[in-house]
Symmetry: C2
Subunit: 254 residues, 2 copies
DNA sequence: TAGTATTCTTGTATTATCAACAATATAATG
DNA sequence: CATTATATTGTTGATAATACAAGAATACTA
């Protein structure tokens, strides 16, 4: 646990190693999802500098040591980078740690960089704006990234994105995560379309309704109704997210 | 994503910050579980050096930059530290990343240290041996750590341990993790006692048997039988772990 | 304004699953 | 050989999931 160094059994004995020589750069990367145009999309930036110039990448950047007395919290860094690189600040509905990616060669530059990846959801996000050196930011459908060679991502971000997508799909089953994709007040149909979009499968409206209403703490009735759509149909009741974070029984995918 | 620094909006302007100044020490810590004496136990070392001298702590240490061309993989570091601090090398049944703990003040020393925590399982481990500076290593029942003030852990290791325990309990439900606590060949009763020990609840033997046998890829029949116990009773069939990593339907806790 | 289409919501019947526990199988012990 | 112990299988009633039908509340159209 923690540094209590015995002399390194080095394979590079051209140097006297001190504790400080083991320091590395720590970055954060954020897979920020939303649903737009009925598609499951992730926020990407187009890199404006090498390496991977002009490649798409997840937004992110270094955890800074010049903020606060002893540097910033990694989660703070994630929020800050999101703001700086894409202009998105409010409207972030959820953020949790996904995992840390620390292979020595994941960044081709001289300095080794490990990345703490975050999984986030932005429900009602304004259009992202690329800053000067991040060049350009946009939401891109995740299916498109998987399908197109031209949208392969920089660094190991394909792997991070893959893990993040799987996290999202899994968490829909046993958590109330889906509500984070919705507006403060939403209909059960909207919630169902979140599941359908992310899982890529159709769910029975009637059964879905009964399931989510049976799950304690998932939904709270606002007493209001959505305005009827132009295409007709009974106006749906409006709900807000309940206080529960996990749902029993889970909503299973096939 | 990754360093592409704009000038830091520092709160400490007594210095010109370069990219390298943001480097921090990266450690790994391992919550290695086993079941001994019918108790759910975790591997701890007693610290032989400050800070937290004489406190119990999870085994771990720095990710080294002097191993390999660009430093070692974090998972390698976890295995190495486990070996160095506790003498445990083979017999490790499972290791996965738990999460990264990166608060600026989690380590009271001058250098900031973030830790990538790992969750591991050792089924048939020899007795651990503390090395010189790690002082002493032992398995300790997790209930005891939660109950006794005297066994509060160093750093934020109580938090890490808590998360690791919850990870174990949750993964028993929907994964084949429980088999990792067992010997290569085991009976369904032994598997059930893994669940009972970690969940702290009794399960119906008959129903449990049917559930695990119904879960595809969970168990494979070896064709052998366990030798009958001295206390009598029908000898149980011996199974080995199947190839599946997740089980459907899950085995639910109440 | 009646009729039709559309969507939300509730109901129903069939089926599958789960939990409790009974029954059977196979061993050790005295 | 009866008793006890453990493993394994079976049974039954309760519960939950599924497919699908029916009802409710709206827009649109003629």
């Amino acid at each position: 646990m923690e540094p209590s160094e015995s002399p390194p059994l080095d394979m590079q004995s051209d140097k006297n190693w001190s504790v400080e020589d083991h320091k590395v750069l720590v970055a954060v990367d954020i897979a920020l999802f939303t649903i737009r145009d009925s598609k499951f999309q992730v926020l990407l930036i187009k890199r404006g500098i090498p390496p991977f110039l002009d490649f798409w990448a997840l937004p992110g950047g270094l955890v800074r040591m010049d903020i606060g007395l002893r540097g910033e919290e990694p989660e703070e860094a994630a929020l800050r980078e999101l703001r700086e690189e894409t202009g998105l600040s409010k409207g972030l509905g959820y953020l949790e740690q996904l995992g840390t990616y620390g292979s020595p060669n994941r960044d081709p530059r001289e300095q080794r960089v490990i990345s703490i990846a975050y999984f986030g959801i932005g429900p009602t996000l304004e259009d992202p704006i690329g800053d000067s050196d991040a060049s350009h930011a946009t939401f891109m459908p995740v299916d498109q990234i998987a399908a197109e060679i031209s949208s392969q991502l920089a660094f190991d971000h394909n792997e991070i994105l893959f893990d993040a997508i799987e996290r999202a799909r899994a968490k829909l089953e046993y958590s109330t995560l889906a509500t984070k994709f919705c507006s403060p007040a939403f209909t059960i149909s909207e919630l169902r379309s979140v599941y359908e979009t992310i899982w890529g499968a159709n769910l029975d409206p009637g059964n879905f309704q009964k399931k989510v209403l049976a799950a304690d703490g998932f939904l709270e009735d606002t007493g209001q109704k959505a305005e009827a759509s132009a295409t007709g149909g009974r106006p749906a009741k409006l709900y807000r997210a309940g206080t529960a974070s996990s749902i029993t029984p889970p909503i299973r995918r096939n």
